[in-house]
Symmetry: C2
Subunit: 218 residues, 2 copies
């Protein structure tokens, strides 16, 4: 409404609609929230943006194009959330990793379908330069903490063990998030875990089990 009268102060010009590209992205996100990845359709996104089914074609090549935009913005937010958690406390590397783990799970639980979309192959185009950069940035937040934990300077590649630790940490939080979203997690007493249970009880439990320094076979 307010954007109708506003001239081209924004970079994206406001022609007739104002900012349809952005509105379609928001609409897509709301569909994901309410109906999941399965429930997304381009027509429904157009409907929610109050526009005819042909309109999106002027902003996105096709349905995948819109989803690619949603995934891109998701990875940007994701990377920012990880970076914020990484920086938000003690500089101890293991503490940093624990905070990242918490942020990872929290992000997944707060936007389940968007998170699932982000890690779903073939639903959108991962080859765009912006996407590659956003993905790399998120990855580097984890890598940074692993480098600190293993005392590996930027100039050096990670040791094999360091890389194993990175993979294991990533796998652990990623798998935990998926199991949480799938509803497969239970509290220690065996009852299905609510979202609060997961964040308050289970996350601390697995945070204590993140791969740590020099694991040796007994």
């Amino acid at each position: 409404l307010n954007s109708v009268k506003i001239k081209s102060t924004k970079r994206k010009k406001a022609y007739h609609h104002g900012d349809l590209r952005q509105q379609l992205t928001l609409a897509a996100e709301s569909i994901l929230r309410e109906r999941g990845v399965q429930g997304f359709t381009l027509r429904e996104a157009a409907r929610r943006a109050g526009v005819s089914p042909a309109a999106p074609a002027h902003h996105f090549k096709d349905a995948q194009g819109l989803l690619s935009e949603v995934a891109l913005q998701g990875f940007r937010e994701f990377g920012a959330a990880l970076a914020a958690a990484d920086a938000a406390g003690s500089p101890d590397p293991q503490e940093r990793l624990r905070r990242q783990a918490g942020a990872y799970v929290k992000f997944a639980l707060s936007q389940p379908a968007r998170f699932q979309l982000m890690f779903l192959h073939g639903k959108y185009d991962r080859s765009g330069q912006e996407f590659v950069e956003a993905g790399k940035r998120a990855y580097q937040v984890l890598e940074g903490a692993i480098r600190a934990a293993t005392g590996t300077p930027e100039a050096q590649p990670l040791s094999l063990e360091g890389y194993g630790r990175l993979l294991a940490t990533w796998s652990l939080v990623h798998g935990f998030s998926h199991l949480a979203l799938a509803g497969d997690l239970r509290t220690p007493d065996g009852s299905p875990a609510s979202e609060a249970d997961i964040l308050d009880k289970l996350v601390p439990l697995i945070a204590g089990q993140l791969p740590a320094s020099s694991p040796r076979r007994p």
Copy 2:
């Protein structure tokens, strides 16, 4: 062909078709293999079984019913594979867990879409008694090794730390499998990891990072 002449020696009777229920299940699995979870349709399953689109209704309530059967059999095979790996070597608990981890990833990679279906919420009915039992059996293979690792007899519940270790182990292998299927894994030198890379190089790497006895914060 051969089943046409055979009388009711099998429990499931062979009427006209012979064994359509089984054939439909096999057809569904082949669709999953070739087209993924997304690509499954009931009509295509009927087509592959050489039967009209209305025929499946005599064996499965609806499309979900067929997928539920596929998921059920998947969990049975999955549990059996984990149990086999658990028993196939040294009784050392950490060794058992490493073998289970390998089998977990191997199962996921060998039948990606079936594995994804199994852990996908809402695509099929998880409430059947047979399904619950198959799921529990697979879970108990992991729990058994964790009990051995923590010295917890069957009569006792797992300690909180033991439960954390179970969750962390499960999450780790589950997340690793998902990342592998999504194509997000890379070899230590940074190139995309092939299936052989994953099984031969990366699995041993994370197997060395599985949660082990008494992890303490440094």
